[in-house]
């Protein structure tokens, strides 16, 4: 009975109420970690790791190492039952302010009207950026007193490739539900509804460096880091997000985004033998290219929508006639290293854009 009561009870815990109300923050970071699927990978000595758990641990480290930031962490866990029969909440929330854990909450992922409804409610409840220009600065002094418009905002998403076509499952615990980048980005707008767009977004996922996926996030961020190829489950390393008061003291987001991308690329390149690509997209500068190929890309999505899943494959847009264009170089900074073995080992360059092809 106690388990049943515990599983139904509200679990919002605020540890640092004063901190959430008065302390200032110059940076706001949102981590979203999908863990409701297979995220196991093995290191070079054969030890199994759970990528989502490791991403969660790193997010906590980033949060604790940021005395001038607020950090939101949302972790999607697989459904599980206590004592076999009592369902447990499958979403965890952690909120840090100025390096200290200020609040936690556990929730049901399917309790909201949209994918991120519950997360957005928590986000808006605590965020200093929730309502532009209204941050309480009465207890702050000098340079620390600032409105939410001057806060540098970032989001990082860890997960599998977010599908571009209908009908593909994403959450292992919800086999009847499907997810598309269109639905994901539409639901994601709740995080920018009351404030300015994010300054930097990171999609630590496979193959979301496509014209369609990147343009789907255009309304929500100025810069986006993503990959047009596979990303090994050891993921993009987010260590550069620690101590933002040092690495981003001048608020030069573009330069900072370069450092984040370069660090992630170098770490993956040293750890894995498979292909590594990390691309920084300047959303405004890539607009001309994604607009120019939009019709062709939507046609390709329609074509593959009706094709059997296993005949589909990703490719470099530069290798597909309708998408190869001089415009594709604008606004992208590509870090790429081919796989060390296999059929793509001889592909020495990548445009930074992924497209679809029907494999033979």
């Amino acid at each position: 009975m106690a388990v049943l009561i515990a599983s139904c009870a509200s679990t919002l815990r605020v540890y640092e109420e004063a901190l959430t109300k008065t302390a200032s923050a110059r940076y706001s970071v949102l981590f979203m970690i999908h863990g409701d699927a297979n995220y196991v990978f093995h290191d070079t000595v054969g030890i199994a790791h759970f990528a989502n758990e490791e991403a969660l641990a790193k997010a906590h480290t980033v949060a604790q190492q940021n005395p001038e930031a607020e950090v939101f962490i949302f972790h999607d866990r697989p459904k599980s039952n206590a004592f076999l029969f009592f369902p447990q909440r499958d979403g965890d929330f952690f909120y840090y302010r100025n390096g200290r854990l200020a609040a936690t909450h556990s929730y049901w992922r399917d309790e909201g009207v949209s994918r991120f409804a519950t997360q957005a409610a928590l986000y808006n409840q605590f965020s200093i950026t929730g309502t532009p220009g209204t941050t309480d600065t009465s207890n702050m002094s000098g340079a620390d007193a600032r409105t939410s418009d001057s806060v540098v905002r970032m989001f990082v998403y860890f997960g599998h490739e977010i599908p571009e076509v209908e009908g593909l499952h994403y959450d292992a615990s919800y086999p009847d539900s499907t997810l598309t980048i269109k639905k994901f980005s539409k639901d994601f707008q709740v995080f920018t509804a009351n404030t300015k767009p994010f300054d930097l977004g990171v999609l630590s996922t496979c193959f979301n460096g496509t014209p369609y996926s990147v343009s789907s996030f255009a309304p929500y961020t100025r810069y986006l880091i993503a990959s047009p190829t596979n990303v090994h489950l050891s993921y993009f390393d987010m260590a550069p997000l620690e101590h933002l008061e040092r690495s981003l003291s001048n608020s030069d987001v573009h330069n900072f985004a370069r450092k984040v991308a370069t660090h992630a690329f170098n770490k993956l390149s040293s750890d894995v033998q498979t292909v590594v690509s990390v691309v920084l997209y300047d959303i405004q500068a890539v607009e001309q290219y994604v607009t120019s190929v939009n019709d062709a890309y939507m046609s390709s999505l329609l074509a593959i929508q009706s094709a059997p899943t296993l005949t589909l494959a990703h490719c470099d847009c530069a290798d597909q006639a309708p998408f190869a264009s001089p415009l594709m170089k604008n606004g992208v900074e590509v870090l790429y290293r081919p796989a060390q073995f296999g059929r793509d080992a001889n592909k020495l360059q990548h445009s930074g854009w992924a497209c679809w092809k029907l494999s033979k």
Binding site: H232, Q273, T274, L310
Partner: protein
């Protein structure tokens, strides 16, 4: 008493099925990881190559057996065939067959890591049902 035993048995079955569901793909990943670890621990390149070739051959045989089983759903067959083709490609690279350059002795450890990582990224395994994945594992165990 009998009712109680039946109830406990059902609970254990539910529990083990839930665990199996999560571990279908993990078992395949672990199979390759174990082979890579064993190959890297070997000091002789010939032995390293043999261990890797052997693990790939067993998987190929298991996939061939599964592909002929009438109980395997047709929706899984395409995934099984694509996984087999991927494994054959890796086997060819090890042996230097079908136009592929033979992996050099000094690169065998790196190739073992590549094999594990590539299989972890293989979307084909995701598209194969749990039942078929478990069948593959069972057949590999029988081949051993």
């Amino acid at each position: 008493m009998k009712t109680r035993i039946t109830l406990v048995s059902i609970m254990l079955l539910v529990c083990s099925l839930t665990m199996a569901q999560a571990q279908g793909k993990e078992k395949i990943q672990k199979y390759f990881s174990d082979a890579a670890t064993e190959a890297k621990a070997a000091s002789d390149p010939t032995e390293k190559r043999a261990i890797l070739e052997n693990s790939l051959s067993k998987m190929t045989k298991a996939l061939d057996v599964v592909a002929t089983m009438s109980s395997v759903p047709s929706t899984d067959l395409a995934g099984v065939q694509r996984l087999r083709a991927s494994i054959q490609e890796k086997h060819d690279a090890l042996a230097g067959l079908n136009g592929q350059t033979r992996i050099a002795d000094e690169k065998l450890n790196a190739y073992a890591n590549y094999l594990v990582q590539d299989m972890e990224q293989a979307d084909t395994i995701v598209t194969i049902s749990l039942v078929t994945l478990l069948l593959i594992i069972i057949i590999i165990i029988l081949i051993l």
